[in-house]
């Protein structure tokens, strides 16, 4: 495979692999369905059945099945074959396999959640080049937004206010509103006096910002007090159908927190930004821990409701899901839709002037600014966009788990999302989705099942895979960064940057060996932000 050279035509066309793709998809689907279906397993010879039931084998079968989606995306095959394999796998076989063993759907949803988180962080780190180590905070904001309102917690909060505050709700609310209006008006006045041309004193903005925050706090508090009278009606949370509204609200909440956190810290760069985002991420978690009135502290919130669509439930029932698994089935499809929307938004932003501005900032802040890119505004947009992806998935997470606590949003999670982005390929949309899938499968399925499969061997703990999961995972990360630093599916940019010195005569380099299977034409088209390539539409199908 040749190094991708700008302007050069792909020299070879790989053979059409439609047939191979379909055959592989059929084999892997059959394996998956058989291994997940206890009634079919029981008809097989017991040796074979036991082999398929082995956790490691089952996990590998599932991985093989999911790998088909990657093949469908990357291989040179006709569009109908790709769409067929992608569509059937995602919409039929995976849910079908999941009805007996919910861990399959659970894994799929988990991959979806982390894929969305990675796509969000990819905008911040991969495109805009702002190392954010506290990204999981935005996920927490989304999760708590629904967690508090979708459970009895909101009832508890209201009861607390009913019991503990004097009956001055209207006064506080009106006071907050007045303060809000005054500061908004004064901000406008400041803006008009200062205009765009001259700098306005920092203290004026600080004062106005303070007024804004206090005004909002008072207003919310007042409204909560007013609503406290209705506490009794909300002991099991708001109507589950508000779930849809809260998907939007969580986006807004997470984006606002993104802007709030971003404003003071975005003047910093590199290491300093990383440390301060790490700190602020922890602050959000500690707030969740300590604001016990609202979040129930370290005990967490449970049970959290989830929307349900009656006809969808009857569909699940018809397929053979038991009623307590309807929710998983439903959320799986919600996740698919959200991921599709996120990928679309990501691609569109990326191939626009915003995307170019992000990359320009990453490459050279001073030059970008001198070319007319407003630094703070552009960085804030990156922060808010990334945060909103995490926010919406937070709601899904809360609804899926039915339980959230500050433990779910520790620093480790931020690091692990970052590792997905880097592993997959900074700045590459298909790359980070693959990165999220690989890391999630490794962490949730493959490595634990390796431990389970070897549990009966009574290995000493020093060499027992069950004890060494993190070590294996760490080893994989180190190896990846040594041998393929640009990630699994690097963006064209990264590829061009890192492989400038490659031998252009067509010799395969070690770095290319993973991609060696692939069709150079496709490889050249892993899309380049800022420049529309052909076959955009083709790429949309079956890749999530």
């Amino acid at each position: 495979m040749t190094a991708i050279r700008p302007g050069s035509q792909p020299p070879v066309t790989a053979p059409d692999r439609s047939i191979a793709l379909i055959v592989l998809a059929v084999i892997s689907s059959a394996l998956l369905l058989i291994s997940q279906e206890s009634s079919w397993l029981s008809r097989l010879p017991s040796a074979l059945a036991n082999f398929l039931k082995n956790p490691l084998v089952a996990s590998l079968v599932l991985t093989f099945f999911l790998a088909n989606l990657l093949f469908a995306y990357r291989w040179n095959a006709s569009l109908w074959a790709k769409l067929l394999v992608g569509g059937l796998s995602l919409f039929l076989i995976l849910p079908w396999a999941g009805r007996d063993n919910t861990s399959v759907l659970d894994l799929a949803i988990q991959i979806g959640i982390f894929a969305a988180l990675s796509l969000g962080l990819n905008i911040v780190v991969g495109l805009a080049g702002l190392l954010d180590l506290g990204y999981i905070a935005f996920f927490a904001v989304g999760a708590y937004t629904w967690g508090i309102f979708g459970s009895g917690q909101i009832g508890k909060v209201l009861t607390y206010f009913k019991d503990n505050s004097a009956n001055n709700g209207p006064v506080v609310a009106v006071g907050g509103l007045v303060l809000l209006i005054i500061t908004a008006l004064s901000l406008r006045a400041i803006n008009r006096v200062g205009g765009k041309r001259t700098p306005v004193a920092n203290w004026a903005f600080l004062l106005a910002a303070l007024g804004l925050v206090i005004g909002v706090t008072l207003l919310v508090r007042g409204l909560v007090m007013l609503a406290a009278a209705n506490a009794a009606g909300l002991t099991s949370g708001v109507n589950p159908n508000f779930f849809w509204l809260f998907l939007i609200l969580a986006i807004a909440a997470a984006a606002s927190v993104g802007v709030l956190i971003g404003l003071p810290v975005l003047k910093l760069k590199g290491d300093y930004l990383a440390i301060i985002t790490l700190g602020l991420g922890e602050v959000i978690r500690v707030l969740a821990n300590n604001l016990g009135t609202y979040t129930n502290g370290s005990q967490g919130i449970t049970p959290i409701g989830s929307a349900s669509v009656p006809w969808f439930n009857s569909l699940a029932g018809a397929i053979g899901f038991s009623p307590d698994q309807y929710n998983l089935f439903f959320l799986y499809f919600v996740v698919l839709i959200i991921i599709a929307v996120i990928v679309l938004a990501n691609m569109r932003l990326d191939r626009s002037k915003i995307g170019r501005a992000w990359i320009a900032i990453r490459e050279d802040e001073i030059a970008a600014q001198a070319m007319g890119v407003p630094l703070v505004q552009t960085k804030l947009i990156a922060f808010a966009t990334g945060a909103s992806f995490a926010g919406i998935m937070g709601v899904i997470f809360a609804a899926k788990q039915g339980f959230i606590s500050p433990e779910s949003f520790i620093l480790n999670q931020s690091i692990s999302v970052l590792s997905m982005v880097v592993l997959g390929g900074l700045g590459s949309i298909p790359g980070v989705i693959l990165g999220a899938a690989v890391v999630t499968i490794l962490n949730i399925s493959l490595l634990p099942s390796l431990g389970e499969a070897t549990a009966s061997l009574n290995l000493p703990p020093q060499v027992n895979p069950a004890q060494l999961q993190r070590l294996v995972f760490g080893g994989i990360l180190v190896a990846m960064m040594l041998f393929r630093p640009e990630g699994l599916l690097p963006s064209v940019r990264q590829r061009r940057m890192m492989h400038e010195d490659d031998d252009p005569s067509g010799n395969m380099t070690p770095q290319d060996s993973i991609a060696g299977e692939l069709n150079p034409e496709n490889a050249a088209e892993v899309y380049s932000p800022g420049v529309a390539t052909r076959a955009d539409n083709e790429r949309g199908g079956g890749t999530q």
Binding site: P6, G7, K196, R197, T198, P199, A345, R348, L349, S352, K353, I354, G355, R356, A357, I359, A360, E363, D364, I366, A367, A368, Q369, A370, M371, G372, V373, P374, L375, I381, R493, Q494, R496, M497, E500, G530, V531
Partner: protein, 291 residues
């Protein structure tokens, strides 16, 4: 500025009706870093559609001077007015929006972008499409993208890099990278472009090309050019007006031949002895050698 000899000569190139003959007016511009006065109360008037130069020995404060005009540094005191609008306190992107574009002494291209994208970034501040337009792919988005692409191609053609459109910026030869920076600056549709040592590292043939490129920027695009340069031959043949800085202060200004014969300038460049008439000063300042 009345009485400026360049004003009259620049009128011949004037294609548009000018509100005033001065495009950039700088008064008492000063920058103090701690105890060091990098630029000390410098005045400068740049006539519309002229080519002017700021020269001076290394460390004279030329780049600091540029950085203050473009908003990268905030001046300690002094005023900068572009067409009557004060630029002091503006962010660099606002200065660009107001109509000043620049290139950099040490090339600052976006390494992972190809030439076309680099120039398209220069168009950023002039595009109307915003965040929502990009998300929804509105008509305005498509118009903006087309505009960016068209302007980029036009400017690449203008500087003679059209064939490198899809080449990574870092793969271009050094001299072409400097031209690409100029194309990127021109894509912002500036009134005034500041070139920071555009000829640094260029061979004589490339310098000749650059000379005609700078003239075309003024004549064909109607953009005023201000350059910082060490190449005396280039400065002397190209500039209509020259300002000389030394140790942060303006020590001389005037037409090229006036500056060339100014004893203070000779002293700054060559030392006191040369100024007194030894060591072949004529050769050096006439452009016989690069200072």
């Amino acid at each position: 500025m009345t009485g400026n000899p360049v004003t009259a000569s620049s009128n011949r190139a004037s294609a548009r009706p000018a509100a005033s003959s001065t495009i950039l007016s700088i008064k008492g511009l000063t920058k103090i870093f701690g105890g060091l006065t990098a630029v000390n109360s410098v005045d400068l008037e740049i006539p519309r559609q002229s080519i002017v130069s700021v020269i001076g020995p290394n460390g004279a404060g030329k780049t600091t001077f540029f950085n203050m005009i473009t908003g990268i540094y905030e001046p300690s005191s002094g005023t900068v007015d572009l067409d009557g609008v004060s630029l002091v306190g503006m962010r660099p992107d606002q200065v660009t929006q107001a109509g000043i574009a620049r290139t950099f002494q040490n090339i600052r291209l976006f390494a992972s972008m190809d030439s076309q994208e680099n120039v398209m970034v220069g168009r950023h501040s002039r595009l109307k499409a915003g965040y929502i337009d990009s998300l929804l792919r509105t008509k305005r988005f498509h118009e903006s993208e087309k505009e960016a692409e068209d302007v980029a191609n036009l400017m690449l053609e203008f500087v003679g890099l059209a064939r490198f459109r899809h080449e990574l910026a870092t793969n271009l030869p050094y001299g072409d990278q400097r031209k690409l920076e100029i194309a990127r600056a021109l894509a912002t549709s500036p009134k005034l472009v500041l070139l920071d040592e555009p000829a640094a590292g260029m061979n004589p043939r490339e310098t000749e090309e650059l000379k005609s490129l700078i003239r075309r920027i003024r004549d064909d695009l109607g953009v005023t050019v201000c350059l910082i340069e060490h190449d005396m031959r280039l400065v002397m043949t190209l500039s209509e007006y020259i300002t000389v800085l030394d140790y942060g202060s303006k020590i001389a200004e005037g037409l090229p031949h006036e500056v060339r014969n100014n004893p203070k300038v000779m002293e700054a460049y060559l030392g006191r002895g040369a100024a007194a008439g030894e060591y072949g000063k004529e050769e050096i300042l006439k452009g016989g050698a690069n200072a």
